[in-house]
């Protein structure tokens, strides 16, 4: 059996490195100066478009949490001559999928349409962008839905733990406030507020666009002009100041009667333009980002069966870098699981990672990157995200290079920078045993 094993691994090692040429990106600029990155893909008669405007829920004024989130919902609930039902019905007639969504830093638009309905889709998009109605009926309806969701979130362990974590990490900062409407903020959200947000955010200079589809650059230019071309040049939203996440000396415990404790832990991470961003990406993979290949999964799930899932992520937001992880475990095991997390953080800060771990992480990160780019919708999203992060059109082709450049001493340095202090913000929702709050 041992011999068979060796033969098998040898075969694995002999496989060549993965060479992948990314999709060909064309930079298309319309007459009115709207730029989009286009990948032409003629095999399916459809178009996928992703647009992102800087200025998301972090722009909600204090006391008006949820302004951006609800405005995003309302942008497809009536525009121009069409009321909510007529607008939605027109989308349906054309089998057009058109959605706005607000995250902390961005308002995003996703459009998906078959070729023969393209004109109609961009007509409707133009109306939504330039003449949203914000009628009383959809506002009342969307607010009632939001109120129901806010009440549900009061007792949802995931919402509870995130709320407390962000409020503690980002005190007196937009990132520390809720991004969804709350029971307190809903009465303060009126038609004028949604209109003000959409006027402020929907501009051209804070806009990036990715398009994948069966369309020529000339056709796309016309459609861009007709839809985005009428937007004002400048957005009036101001990005919140950069902040470093705070940690606390002791875990914070939100007592809640549930069979499991949900534990969220984290601290300062990196901004997207940090020179160590790719080093941190590799480090995160080894520590907790790599699913079954991460140290946390090995120690906490595979060896001890304490959790179903444990993981960490880097959140490079525009005004803060955050490193964050989570797990859920039976209440009586919470202390043990958290101790294992702390141990893993301390060990990686002290010892760094092994050559094998570095090689495995690089193999996964470089090899799996192209696997994300198998659908038109996913590629459109990547094209928009690349522009939002100021990455060049050669980013897809150069990603492997950035990862391969990471050296083991870089990992040790960044692990020390992030974890050597041992400071972690820990928030637990449940009835945890073995954790002193």
């Amino acid at each position: 059996m041992k011999q068979a094993l060796r033969v098998f691994f040898l075969l694995v090692l002999l496989l060549p490195g993965i060479a992948f040429a990314g999709p060909r990106i064309e930079r298309v600029t319309s007459a009115s100066g709207i730029e989009a990155w286009l990948v032409r893909e003629p095999k399916i008669p459809m178009l996928a478009l992703q647009a992102m405007w800087r200025g998301g829920t972090a722009s909600d004024p204090e006391g008006q949490q949820g302004r951006a989130a609800l405005a995003a919902d309302l942008l497809t609930e009536g525009a121009g001559d069409l009321d909510a039902e007529a607008f939605q019905s027109a989308l349906r007639d054309g089998a057009i999928s058109l959605d706005f969504d607000a995250s902390r830093d961005y308002l995003s638009l996703s459009l998906r349409v078959l070729n023969d309905q393209r004109q109609r889709a961009f007509d409707l998009l133009a109306q939504a962008l330039t003449a949203p109605r914000f009628d009383d009926e959809p506002i009342a309806r969307v607010k009632a839905q939001a109120e129901a969701a806010a009440r549900r979130a009061l007792n949802n362990p995931g919402s509870m733990v995130n709320r407390r974590f962000l409020a503690t990490a980002f005190p007196n900062h937009a990132y520390g406030r809720e991004s969804s409407p709350t029971l307190e903020s809903l009465p303060n959200l009126q038609r004028a507020d949604f209109a003000a947000y959409s006027r402020a955010v929907l501009a051209r200079k804070n806009l990036v666009i990715g398009v994948v589809g069966d369309i020529s650059p000339d056709e796309l230019r016309k459609l861009l002009d007709a839809s985005f071309g009428k937007l004002p040049a400048e957005s009036s939203l101001v990005q919140p100041p950069v902040i470093v996440p705070k940690t606390t000396a002791k875990p914070l415990i939100v007592s809640y009667d549930n069979p499991q404790s949900m534990v969220v832990f984290g601290g300062p991470g990196l901004l997207r333009d940090d020179p160590d961003y790719y080093v941190a990406t590799v480090l995160n993979y080894v520590l907790g980002g790599g699913g079954f290949n991460s140290r946390l999964t090995e120690e906490i799930r595979e060896k001890r069966g304490l959790v179903y899932s444990v993981g960490t992520q880097l959140h490079p937001m525009l005004s803060a870098g955050l490193f964050m992880g989570s797990l859920s475990t039976r209440n009586d095991q919470a202390g043990q699981a958290l101790a294992l997390v702390r141990e893993a953080f301390a060990r990686i800060a002290q010892e760094g990672i092994t050559d094998q771990e570095l090689a495995d992480a690089k193999a996964y990160l470089t090899g799996s990157f192209p696997l994300r780019l198998t659908s038109n919708g996913a590629i459109a999203g990547m094209l928009a995200a690349m522009q939002a992060s100021n990455l060049g059109p050669d980013y897809i082709d150069r990603y492997a290079e950035y990862i391969e450049a990471v050296r083991i001493e870089d990992i040790r340095r960044v692990a020390q920078r992030l974890f050597a202090s041992g400071d972690l913000l820990v928030v637990v929702v449940g009835k945890p045993a073995g954790i002193d709050g």
């Binding site: 399916i44 989308l91 007639d93 007792n155 009667d257 499991q260 949900m262 079954f292 859920s328 192209p370």
Partner: protein, 453 residues
């Protein structure tokens, strides 16, 4: 499911309403000498392949008292074969830049990897080996059972909604094992062990009980030779027929109320036993998919009558899982707007259904629904995973490749009369299960009642 895979679940849900498309995927299919069915959906846009093996066995094929064994076995399938030591499967795939996972449903169990095209040979070799040479140690099996118990807590017991869902399923099926949770009842999971899982493996895992589905950048000739090389030599074995206890006629409406201190917003659910594409009055199945689309779309009847304007509901929807080996359910759900009552929502829902049963749907509603469903069949081609998933779910529930491919034609042919007949056949309240999930009665209210008594 081995790792949280909600995306995959919702994809499947989307496809249940609109499985794939005629002359859209153009799959190649063949069967190996040992009975392994193979389906290839070519997609040469990127040098990537989605490799999946689906077994025609799921939680509904378990023995009574052993609920959860199909899913526990799915976890153990990562715990070693002669050439791939325990825990190494996913690590090897990851070292090749690939991703892998697995899932269990009532009717099927699936394993998949997404890899660069030149790694197909490798993952096929590993997947083929665990089809017939699984070797799990007690030392690996025991902690994995704890992982499954934690999974159950995370998915089900942490959420009153999920717990109530289990109760509703159990009430829906008096005899059929669809009434049992896929992950298993906690007390039955605790009684599982390696021996029971391996017995299940030996009984059900065989090439003639599996389907190999590959989507992506590979030609039929290449796939055929790889499939022969890796799977072709696995011996065929007899597998038991899938004979499950069937439901008796439902004579009494069933109503469930669950109160839980964790609930802050009431919700209403309603389900009706319904034919699937392959079981029961199956001529009603495609019309039921169309009906669900008509009811639940953004401007559909449920929205207009229950949610829009001063309607009583914050949200309302319908869901019909058409791909099931045995009789499935047609589901409706709604939740009241704050300040409105669940009774008001249920009355309004019943009024929508009464009108539907009296008048049927309009020509406009039918045309719009067909339009959206046909477009859905084209958009479905944009996802490797979705394409493979559609064929897997169909073929493990008794549907043919041709029937999947014929979907747009089947939808096009649906008439108003057929939708009405299907609705009348299924949406009979005497054959329904209705659930109210409610907050704990407030202390104050409880005291008031005591005084009144």
């Amino acid at each position: 499911m081995r790792l949280l895979l909600m995306a995959c679940l919702s994809l499947l849900a989307a496809f249940a309403g609109m499985p794939a498309a005629a002359q859209v995927f153009n799959p190649t299919r063949f069967t190996l000498g040992n009975g392994l069915d193979v389906v290839l959906i070519e997609d040469h846009r990127a040098p990537v392949v989605q490799h999946m093996v689906w077994y025609r066995v799921g939680a509904a094929d378990e023995m009574p008292g052993e609920s959860g064994v199909a899913h526990y076995l799915e976890h153990l399938m990562f715990k070693g074969t002669p050439n791939v030591p325990s825990g190494e499967f996913s690590k090897i795939v990851a070292r090749q830049g690939g991703r892998d996972n697995a899932f269990t449903s009532a009717d099927y169990t699936g394993y998949f990897q997404t890899v660069a095209r030149d790694r197909l040979d490798l993952v096929m070799r590993m997947e083929a080996e665990r089809m017939h040479r699984l070797t799990v140690s007690e030392a690996d099996a025991r902690p994995e059972l704890q992982v499954v118990l934690e999974e159950r807590l995370s998915r089900t017991d942490n959420s009153p909604r999920a717990q109530f869902g289990e109760q509703l399923d159990a009430a829906q099926y008096l005899s059929h094992p669809y009434g049992r949770p896929i992950i298993g009842w906690a007390h039955e999971i605790k009684a599982l062990n390696l021996e029971k899982a391996m017995a299940f493996y030996r009984t059900h895992y065989a090439p003639n009980n599996a389907i190999l589905i590959v989507a992506g950048d590979v030609s039929p000739a290449e796939l055929k030779s790889l499939a022969e090389k890796h799977y072709g030599l696995i011996p065929m074995r007899p597998v038991p027929p899938r004979l499950r206890p069937q439901e008796p006629p439902q004579l009494a409406e069933r109503r469930l109320v669950m109160r839980d201190a964790r609930v802050t917003q009431p919700s209403l659910s309603r389900s009706y036993l319904a034919p699937s594409r392959t079981a029961g009055e199956k001529q009603h199945s495609v019309p039921l998919s169309v009906l669900s689309e008509i009811l639940s779309n953004s401007t559909g009847r449920l929205h207009r009558r229950l949610v829009a304007g001063d309607g009583p509901a914050a949200g309302a929807g319908s869901y019909y899982q058409s791909l099931a080996l045995d009789q499935t359910t047609f589901n409706l759900s709604a939740s009241p707007k704050p300040g409105r009552s669940i009774e008001e929502v249920e009355t309004a829902l019943d009024a929508v259904l009464a009108d539907l049963l009296a008048e049927g749907v309009s020509e406009f509603e039918l045309a719009q629904a067909k339009n959206v469903m046909r477009a859905g069949a084209i958009f479905a081609r944009d996802s490797l995973f979705g394409a493979a998933q559609t064929f897997g779910a169909a073929l493990t529930t008794g549907l043919s490749v041709d029937a999947v491919e014929d979907w747009p034609n089947l939808v096009r042919a649906v008439t108003r009369e057929q939708v009405l007949a299907a609705a009348r056949s299924v949406l009979d309240k005497r054959r329904s299960v209705t659930g109210h999930l409610l907050p704990e009665e407030k202390q104050a209210d409880a005291k008031k009642q005591e005084t009144a008594q």
